[in-house]
């Protein structure tokens, strides 16, 4: 106290220049308020039609030339000196709302925004630009509005979030039908896919053709490719943050549709006089029901369906507390005869939003997530003479408090933590042969991961804003279990375990890893319509997907870090230039990135990743690097909307024991990647859309020599190379038309037809090109001459154009 007084005196005594300096310093660390009285205006921004909280709405104070954006729950808070302000609430696709606020005491101002399409003809003239992408510190982030995703042409007319994501810059896929997506040189397991904050371990239905997200319940989708804020962690390449709708809090709403694959139905309703609402949605594939009459005998028992159920409920208790509970259950069930196969995700999330003061917002999340699969013969017939049952599962449970402290509009502090408990059962099998049976249980694995973080978003000057933070993650591999070490051998060959392994009891700590993960971003405004952004992030990952196939299969097992598997780490720097044109009608960006990946997994030749107790002996470790440039031009307004994106990139791996230890192309490396998405609103009833994609082919390995052994024609690559060739380029055009029905459905509802054609010009794009022994029967002369019988084959997942019709309705 004394000291402070001295400081005060000092300040008052110093010359003007010094005062200025200290003032600047203080503004740098302006945590404390100045002498001037300040008040806070806070509240929620919601959609007028259904009461859904809107995420990322710009709340801009004209007089103070500053602003904030709403958080994932639609909450905002601004602390300003007393005065009268004009606050502009703006959000893409919504009409702007301007409020005059007399700020002489703390107050709550909640706002509702109306959809722009309600009022399409009216040209909204704004005095201040809603150039969020230029002003925000976020970079390497793509947000695709659900409205857009719904209008894009989709395979078999099924609106698909993951397939839409694949059209963004910096995002690729190994091919059609492959599960997941690859971001800036990361493999699919390096994306944290969050559904209402719970991780989804397998985002696919039907192997990889459709994603598990029901488009009718998704409110918001955001993909972080770089500059990842400190509150996120656990995967090294990207975060796909999917938020579910809360349920219409104004009126009952029913949505549904009948497509070629799924039938969908969603029901939403408010309760407790609008204080709460819920949403329940279900989808099921029904091709099996249609096919049933045509199947005979053995095929009659064919099982072939996939479904998902999504539900969410929220309740607002007073003005300070909101509770949410949401859940997802998805399952794929396949089988024929006595053979069966299934997989599915389950997630359950509970959340509590609490406003401590109008400056401090807390969200507490607890979730449970489960992924499992089962495969077998006569799985459910315990008395069968011959049986085989195999299953695997991973369960995570977590609690995660996140706080946002809206100190001033120029300083927004976030802090919090997370605790995750992992329980993995990599494989359990039972084999019964002629009535005799044996069981094999691969030892289950336990671990936990804790993290704490703190970050500040700071507007340094009118032109410069910063985001800096740090996350510390700490992983413990836990008993009970036996940990083996492995004998060193020539790189690339299976390592043998050393017996006996070291035994651990329940509660023992087997191995720990800790990582500091610094995050940093800066936005330098160049002028009112353009800015330069730079970011760096380090990420760590303790959970690894063992997958040695071209596309990841639902059987792939997630395994935890251990003494033998080090955490995966990634460092990424990105630099971007952002500019808006024509009153934000267009937004453009150019980003370059460089990413280094550490402790990347690869596999020995002939690796056996399933039901293998010593699977760690089949793993190889290496490193990766990825770099590229992404060009993106998006048109946000007008009748024609959409984007053009081009990515030039390189993704490589280096693993001792593969490709002679030299760098090689990762299997999802596609140097050129060009996409366009165009949506044209012809009139109020008819909307047309198209997607066009052209990318480089994926890498491939071809033999340099052939030989025969045991009568089989085989291939060999003399240089022992990996991925040194490439398959032909991929390109595809899709078209769709959405036609709103003229007549009201049953007098009250709305209906629309969606016609789409996938792969319009009927191209057989190669998924892979491979070589094999000629499949024809050898002729007598071929046999006599002892010829090598080899051929090259192009494999296309989709061999023709695919038309489809979907009908959607809404009450």
């Amino acid at each position: 106290m004394n000291r402070l007084r001295i400081n005060h005196q000092n300040i008052s005594m110093k010359s003007k220049i010094q005062k200025k300096w200290i003032g600047l310093l203080l503004s740098f660390f302006s945590i404390a308020s100045f002498a001037q009285t300040k008040h806070t205006v806070s509240g929620y921004v919601k959609d007028i039609a259904n009461g859904e909280g809107l995420i990322g709405v710009s709340v801009y104070v004209r007089e103070a030339q500053t602003g904030v954006v709403t958080n994932p729950y639609g909450f905002y808070s601004l602390t300003l000196p007393a005065g009268t302000y004009t606050v502009v609430y703006s959000y893409i696709g919504y009409q702007k709302n301007t409020k005059t606020i007399e700020l002489n005491a703390d107050q709550t101002v909640s706002i509702e925004l109306a959809d722009e399409s309600e009022n399409l003809k009216e040209v909204t003239i704004s005095t201040k630009k809603d150039d969020e992408n230029v002003r925000s510190i976020e970079m390497s982030v793509n947000k695709v509005e659900m409205k857009t995703i719904r209008k894009m042409p989709a395979l078999l007319g099924e609106v698909d979030l993951i397939r839409s994501i694949q059209l963004l810059p910096g995002v690729t896929t190994v091919g059609e039908g492959a599960s997941g997506f690859n971001v800036r040189g990361g493999d699919i397991s390096q994306n944290l896919v969050l559904l209402d904050e719970a991780p989804v371990f397998n985002s696919s239905h039907l192997f990889g053709f459709f994603s598990v997200f029901n488009p009718d319940v998704v409110k918001d989708v955001k993909l972080f490719k770089g500059g990842i804020p400190a509150q996120y962690g656990g995967r090294i390449s990207s975060i796909l943050d999917v938020r579910m709708k809360e349920g219409n809090s104004k009126k009952r709403e029913i949505n549904g549709g009948i497509g070629s694959i799924f039938s969908r139905l969603t029901y939403e309703q408010p309760f407790a006089a609008g204080k709460g609402s819920f949403i329940v949605a279900a989808r099921r594939s029904y091709i099996d029901i249609l096919a049933k009459p045509f199947l005979n005998k053995d095929l009659k028992d064919s099982k072939f369906n996939f479904y998902d159920l999504t539900a969410k409920v929220n309740y607002r208790l007073g003005n300070k507390d909101t509770f949410f509970a949401s859940g997802y259950l998805g399952k794929d069930v396949f089988g024929g005869g006595d053979f069966g196969f299934g997989w599915g995700n389950k997630t359950l999330t509970g959340r509590w939003n609490h406003i401590f003061s109008n400056k401090l917002f807390m969200n507490m999340t607890a979730y449970y997530s489960n992924y499992d699969y089962n495969l077998g013969q006569n799985e459910n017939d315990k008395n069968a003479k011959d049986r085989f049952v195999w299953n695997s599962r991973i369960v995570t449970k977590s609690i995660k408090p996140d706080f946002t402290y809206y100190i001033t509009p120029n300083n927004q502090l976030t802090f919090g933590g997370q605790y995750i408990n992992y329980d993995s059962s990599p494989g359990k099998a039972t084999a019964v042969s002629e009535g005799e049976g044996l069981n094999l249980d691969l030892p289950s694995r336990h671990a936990d991961e804790s993290a704490i973080y703190i970050a500040n978003e700071q507007k340094l000057t009118d032109k410069i804003s910063l985001q800096y933070g740090i996350r510390y993650s700490y992983f413990r591999s836990l008993g009970a279990g036996i940990e083996y070490s492995y004998r060193d051998t020539t790189a690339g060959i299976r390592k043998q375990p050393i017996f006996p392994g070291k035994e651990y009891q329940s509660g023992d700590v087997i191995k720990t890893y800790g990582n500091f993960e610094p995050r940093f971003a800066v936005n330098i405004g160049l002028n009112s319509v353009s800015s330069l952004k730079i970011s760096y992030n380090r990420m760590s990952q303790y959970l690894h997907l063992l997958s040695n196939t071209a596309a990841s299969s639902p059987l792939d097992v997630w395994t935890l870090s251990s003494s033998n598997i080090k955490p995966e780490l990634a460092d990424q720097v990105a630099l971007g230039w952002f500019r808006n044109f024509k009153d934000n009608m267009y937004e453009a960006s150019v980003e370059v990135y460089y990413k280094k990946l550490h402790n990347q997994l690869d596999y020995v030749v002939g690796s056996d990743l399933l039901l293998n107790q010593f699977v760690e002996g089949d793993l190889l470790t290496g490193r990766g690097r990825a770099y590229g440039a992404e060009f993106y031009l998006k048109k946000n307004k007008g009748r024609l909307t959409g984007w053009v994106s081009y990515t030039l990139s390189k993704t490589e791996r280096q693993v001792e024991g593969v490709n002679n230890g030299n760098w090689f192309n990762a299997r999802f490396d596609k140097p050129h990647n060009f996409t366009t998405v165009a949506i044209y609103e012809l009139n109020k009833r008819l909307t047309l859309s198209s997607n066009f994609t052209i990318t480089s082919g994926t890498p491939a390995t071809f033999p340099t020599n052939g030989y025969t052994w045991g009568g089989y024609s085989l291939g060999n690559n003399y240089n022992n190379a990996r991925n040194n060739n490439r398959i032909p380029a991929y390109h595809r055009l899709d078209l769709a038309a959405t036609l709103k029905a003229r007549k009201k459905l049953f007098g009250i509802g709305e209906g629309e037809w969606v016609f789409s054609i996938y792969n319009v010009y009927n191209r057989r794009n190669a998924f892979s090109v491979y070589t094999r022994q000629n499949e024809d029967k050898p002729t007598a002369s071929e046999k006599a001459q002892n010829l090598l019988r080899t051929q090259a084959v192009r494999y296309s997942v989709i061999g023709s154009l695919i038309p489809s019709i979907t009908y959607n309705f809404k009450f």
Binding site: L299, A431, S433, G606, F702, Y795
Partner: protein, 312 residues
């Protein structure tokens, strides 16, 4: 459709194909022209020694360009010997001058269970060697066959809609880690003309991870001798069970993997690891495999009167 020759991954993939086809997402394969580089030729070793009496053959040839349409070149003038661990030396001679080096006595066999064998090949200045061992093999207890009607009429060259599934019964030895090669026998000769037909067992199931030590071979393996078509009354059919080392098991698995590596779950194509090594570590590497096995065999003629009734 009952596909008999399964391992978990291929079953999974086959089911996937059928399911995709139902909704019109059927993948398609087209044979295309592909230009590849050609590497230097390498020695290819292809031979097994067994405990069966009669001629034993070790074939030596040269690798060629992958799409080379010329006949495969034999390796001529090599000196080939097999030595066992108690000092017997067997000289293999290329009497026909076609690269097939043989040794044989009608009355005796070369191989004995439990012995280790070393192959030595001298060609010009190069020396290649390989080791193997003959493991124990269980006897085949019986062969049975069951009436079967396929749900759909098979393609022209895939046999008839009705017929018999033939299976054999044998029991794996107690003690984990026995590996076997199961071969279909048709009209007295083994019939394994395609790599995808290779049926190998680890204990009584498909892989080291499956819990099957000491069991009767599991049903998909028992039935692996009925591969892509049903047998008919009067078919002269049987099975050969070869004991193989774990190393041979993984070699064969790689042969299968390389030969069935289509689809979206293909693994990176990798060279199949040979057990033949060049004495000069900087010399050209060899390809192929030198194997050793003991063989059990049983044959029968399908008699409708003895067939089991069709399963529902």
């Amino acid at each position: 459709m009952k596909k008999q020759n399964i391992n978990s991954k291929t079953v999974f993939f086959q089911i996937a194909i059928v399911l995709m086809a139902i909704i019109g997402l059927s993948g398609c394969e087209d044979v295309i022209d592909l230009k590849t580089e050609t590497g230097p030729t390498q020695l290819v070793v292809d031979g097994w020694v067994t405990n069966q009496p009669g001629k034993q053959t070790i074939t030596l040839s040269w690798s060629s360009g992958y799409f080379d349409s010329n006949p495969i070149q034999p390796v001529l003038g090599a000196k080939v010997t097999v030595t066992d661990n108690i000092g017997n030396v067997y000289n293999f001679a290329d009497s026909a001058g076609n690269g097939k080096y043989t040794w044989g006595l009608a009355t005796d066999s070369l191989g004995r269970i439990g012995r280790k064998y070393t192959l030595r090949i001298e060609y010009e200045k190069e020396v290649y060697t390989a080791q193997n061992e003959i493991k124990r093999v269980p006897k085949i207890d019986s062969i049975a066959y069951t009436n079967e009607t396929l749900p759909i009429k098979p393609d022209k060259d895939k046999g008839q809609k009705t017929g018999y599934i033939v299976e054999f019964y044998a029991r794996d030895f107690v003690g984990a880690g026995d590996t076997y090669w199961i071969k279909e026998v048709l009209n007295g000769k083994t019939n394994v003309d395609k790599a995808e037909k290779i049926s190998i067992a680890y204990d009584a199931a498909f892989s080291a991870g499956a819990p099957s030590d000491g069991l009767i071979f599991i049903q998909p393996l028992r039935r692996s001798i009925t591969y892509d078509s049903l047998y008919q009354a009067g078919s002269h059919v049987g099975v050969e069970l070869h004991s193989i080392t774990n190393e041979a098991f993984y070699f064969l698995q790689q042969v299968v993997d390389q030969s069935t590596n289509g689809g979206i779950y293909a693994t990176p194509i990798a060279n199949i690891k040979s057990n033949v090594t060049n004495a000069d570590p900087n010399g050209r590497k060899a390809l192929g495999y030198f194997g050793a096995s003991a063989v059990s065999r049983m044959e029968t003629i399908v008699d409708p009167a003895k067939a089991r009734p069709e399963e529902d």
